[in-house]
């Protein structure tokens, strides 16, 4: 009879909480719908397929970075160097192929090697970050901050600050072609996100990301190989950044010296707006994706409204802070 108290009193509020938790993922969906309505009211072309495809294409590269960063954040780390990887990996891969007259390194690898080389560079960068953080035991924030500058500097040194224009055809294909009426870039993002969402929900390896980010000691005691998983996630993050770089190169037709510069800020913004905790262990990839879409829609609305170039940067910053505020109240959770 004394036991009656606890079990009877507890379930009602718990159930409600659980139901809310299940829909937390969808918290930004109403906001996205609202943005579509606002966009449609402000501009007649907003809801046309071309405009929406343009939004998706523009966001495809960012979304891949967010996918990588979101997994890295869930596991309780962060990687600031992703934006430099976006530029360096394609630049280095291309430079290893083209002759010095075109700005290359005169190594003369075969043109078909461009893509594999580029991916390999991504694996190497993620692997090196992981080595320094996990094996040497350095601060992840500082290592990747150092890497951010180092990789950007390397790219400038290799290309002498110039854009590489003579890019092999195979390298441009993915970023410029369309499949079934949609840019390949969008398909690649859809596939990557679908795979990521599946892995993080249905695979033991994916669930271990949450366990490690939530309490790495407990994860270790439960038999999860913490270092191995974190290292793998860092490498996957870098490879996703490389893919974003390949798509960007293809879309623009060249590797700019500043490719990817400044993206990391938007990456963090989209992840946090999408409900990924900077403390680790919380958030979903679907949430992160909706954060990316939300930012993309707001940007496009501003662009179509013809906000002056001088103000666009300030307005992006303001939009991100505004989006954080909206998200704070839409999800009812404090962001840490």
């Amino acid at each position: 009879m004394t036991k009656a108290m606890t079990p009877v009193a507890a379930p009602a509020p718990e159930k409600q909480k659980l139901r809310l938790a299940r829909y937390q993922d969808l918290a930004l969906v109403p906001v996205i719908i609202l943005l579509l309505i606002i966009g449609a009211i402000l501009s007649p072309i907003f809801l046309t397929p071309n405009n929406l495809i343009a939004v998706l294409t523009q966001q495809s590269e960012l979304s891949l970075l967010v996918l990588g960063q979101a997994m890295i954040l869930i596991v309780g780390k962060m990687d600031l160097s992703l934006e430099s990887t976006v530029g360096l990996a394609p630049a280095l891969a291309v430079a290893l192929i083209i002759p010095s007259t075109a700005g290359g390194l005169d190594v003369g690898f075969a043109a078909w090697l461009a893509l594999p080389l580029c991916l390999l560079i991504g694996v190497a960068i993620g692997g090196l970050n992981g080595f320094l953080i996990l094996k040497v035991g350095l601060s992840g924030f500082m290592v990747t901050l150092g890497m951010l500058t180092l990789l950007r500097g390397l790219q400038l040194a290799i290309t002498e600050g110039k854009s590489l224009i003579d890019v092999p055809e195979s390298f441009l294909y993915l970023g410029s072609t369309t499949w079934l009426g949609l840019p390949a870039a969008v398909w690649i993002c859809v596939v990557c996100y679908a795979a990521g969402i599946f892995v993080l929900k249905y695979l033991r390896a994916g669930r271990s990301l949450y366990a490690i980010g939530g309490n790495s000691e407990a994860a270790r005691a439960a038999g999860i190989r913490v270092d191995r998983v974190v290292w793998t996630v860092l490498i996957i993050g870098s490879v996703l950044a490389v893919i974003a770089g390949i798509l960007m190169t293809g879309r623009l037709g060249s590797v700019a010296a500043t490719q990817g510069e400044g993206m990391i800020f938007q990456v963090f913004a989209a992840a946090v707006i999408g409900g990924i905790s900077l403390q680790g262990g919380k958030g979903t990839l679907f949430g992160a994706l909706s954060g990316v879409l939300m930012l993309g829609l707001v940007e496009q609305i501003l662009r179509l409204q013809g906000v002056s170039g001088f103000y666009i940067k300030a307005s992006y910053g303001a939009v991100i802070i505004l989006a954080l505020i909206v998200t704070r109240f839409a999800t009812g959770q404090k962001q840490e």
């Binding site: 009879m1 004394t2 108290m5 606890t6 079990p7 009193a9 507890a10 379930p11 009602a12 509020p13 718990e14 159930k15 659980l18 929900k201 249905y202 695979l203 033991r204 390896a205 994916g206 669930r207 949450y210 366990a211 939530g214 309490n215 000691e217 407990a218 994860a219 270790r220 005691a221 439960a222 038999g223 999860i224 190989r225 262990g281 919380k282």
Partner: protein, 491 residues
């Protein structure tokens, strides 16, 4: 001076739809040590947070020495009335002892901080309360015992004469507990009042004069300790007659088949320990906090690397320092500290319970049903398998850790402090699980300081400075065992 150091009257507090305190009161006489006991979820923590001004009650009033309590916003006024030493540390680890003692008043009223003066003040304060700690050392280098003493000294230096000790003995070993009690008694002689919270009823009898029991958010009884027998006290806590009902397991069938063999194992803080456990055998490991018993158990489970020696299960050697290998070999473990190593608090019961055993694919429905099975088999009080473990009380969290350890149906169980910080009922149910598993043919190692935990064991090994010094068969006497744990020789 008023007769009562602290009085709470008609206090009610709700969290959402859960009633945490239902019209309760407490009167703590000045100069006494007053025990507050109750099962997990009885409302003790809520009362502490109301008595310390961390939370406002929905109804009711609190007064200190006859004065009504200050408004919640005025935290410095609260600190002059009451101080609390929580289980979790409230000192800043990377600052010196001196700075922690005078935190947020480092300038001693002068505007600029004089480090020299601060150190001098700290030394004299520590001296006043007879705390042998260097004021310049960092708090992170102190032992739990020293850290608690610093917190008590700080509380008293602010002017508070009423100190709440929230499970202060949970992380201390035997001699340190005795020293804490001596100090409580001498401070009490100087007029300090204590509210003492503990799950160890024996301690209540040792150090307190009055005891208050809460159960299910209600006040049950307040009485002089001398007038409450232990069975009465347990009855008041559980609402059921009879004392702690721990299975002694002396009728467990024994078997000759050896499951776990540890030979000449050495590692962090222990050396050259050999033992073998047969099917259905439960072996207790006792010893002080520095005896190396935790390190030994963690090495068996692969959380630490051995420096020498081997561990084998059912005849095959297990790779040392490799948890997945230990799990695969059939060793399950309840780690030392459920918050630190046992659970991922934000994840669900189902996910925590299946963390060690999930296959490559995790189907949510299968996981949920495994969670429901765990809830049913281990008597976890929860709304359902999807509930995050952070919502559960300590005893129920510990049951989830136990469920995880048993999820892969291991043949060897390593249980480190399996009933730490859980209430009487949960303790009964957890020890019942150990007994039942042994009856099913598992071998178990129980590492604990609590005599109740060791009573379920077939034999108890006592470690001292990393070596096995004594072995007790079933039927040991408390005094004998305690003496061996403290390193005193007894005949």
């Amino acid at each position: 001076m008023n007769e009562y150091a602290a009085v709470a009257r008609g206090v009610t507090k709700r969290f959402g739809r859960t009633l945490a305190l239902d019209d309760v009161g407490i009167k703590i006489r000045a100069g006494e040590s007053h025990a507050l006991v109750g099962r997990n979820g009885a409302g003790k923590s809520t009362l502490v947070s109301i008595l310390t001004g961390m939370q406002t009650p929905d109804a009711g009033e609190v007064s200190f020495f006859g004065e009504p309590a200050p408004p919640v916003a005025d935290s410095s006024a609260w600190r002059r009335h009451v101080a609390c030493v929580y289980q979790k540390s409230t000192v800043v680890p990377e600052l010196s002892v001196a700075e922690n003692l005078f935190i947020n008043r480092q300038d001693l009223g002068g505007g600029l901080i004089s480090w020299k003066k601060l150190r001098a003040e700290a030394s004299s304060l520590l001296e006043t309360y007879d705390v042998a700690v260097n004021p310049e050392s960092l708090v992170s280098t102190l032992t739990v015992e020293q850290r608690q003493l610093v917190e008590i000294a700080r509380a008293l230096s602010i002017g508070s004469r009423f100190v709440i000790l929230d499970e202060p003995t949970a992380q201390l070993d035997g001699p340190a507990i005795e020293r804490l009690f001596d100090r409580m008694r001498s401070l009490q002689d100087k007029g300090v009042t204590f509210l003492f919270i503990s799950h160890h009823l024996q301690e209540v009898y040792e150090v307190c004069q009055t005891v208050t029991v809460y159960r299910d958010a209600r006040h049950i009884v307040t009485a002089p300790v001398a007038e409450m027998s232990k069975p009465d006290l347990i009855e008041a806590m559980t609402g059921e007659a009879g004392g702690l009902n721990v299975p002694s397991g002396d009728d467990r069938p024994s078997s000759a088949e050896e499951v776990l063999t540890v030979s000449a194992l050495s590692g962090d803080h222990f050396s050259d320990i050999s033992l073998s456990a047969r099917k259905g055998e439960v072996i207790g490991l006792a010893g002080s906090a520095s005896s190396g018993k935790h390190e030994f158990a963690e090495t068996v489970y692969g959380l630490r690397k051995p420096s020498l020696g081997t561990i084998s299960v059912n005849g095959s050697v297990v790779r040392g320092g490799d948890v997945p290998a230990a799990l695969k070999a059939g060793i399950g473990c309840v780690p030392r500290d459920r918050h630190h190593q046992g659970l991922v608090l934000d994840l669900s019961i189902a996910e925590n319970a299946t963390m060690s055993t999930a296959g490559a694919f995790v189907w949510p429905s299968a996981q949920r049903s495994a969670g429901s099975t765990a809830i049913a088999s281990y008597d976890v009080k929860a709304a359902g398998p999807d509930q995050p473990v952070s919502d559960l009380s300590g005893g129920n969290q510990q049951k989830v850790v136990m469920a995880r350890a048993l999820a892969g149906d291991p043949s060897v169980l390593v249980l480190i402090n399996p009933t730490a910080g859980v209430d009487v009922k949960s303790k009964e149910s957890l020890l019942g699980v150990v007994d039942a598993q042994a009856r099913r043919g598992k071998a178990a190692i129980v590492v604990s300081d609590e005599l109740d935990d060791l009573r379920v064991c077939d034999r108890v090994l006592v470690l001292f400075h990393g070596r096995v010094v004594r072995e007790f068969a079933r039927g040991w006497r408390d005094q004998e065992l305690i003496a061996a744990i403290e390193g005193m020789s007894s005949e």
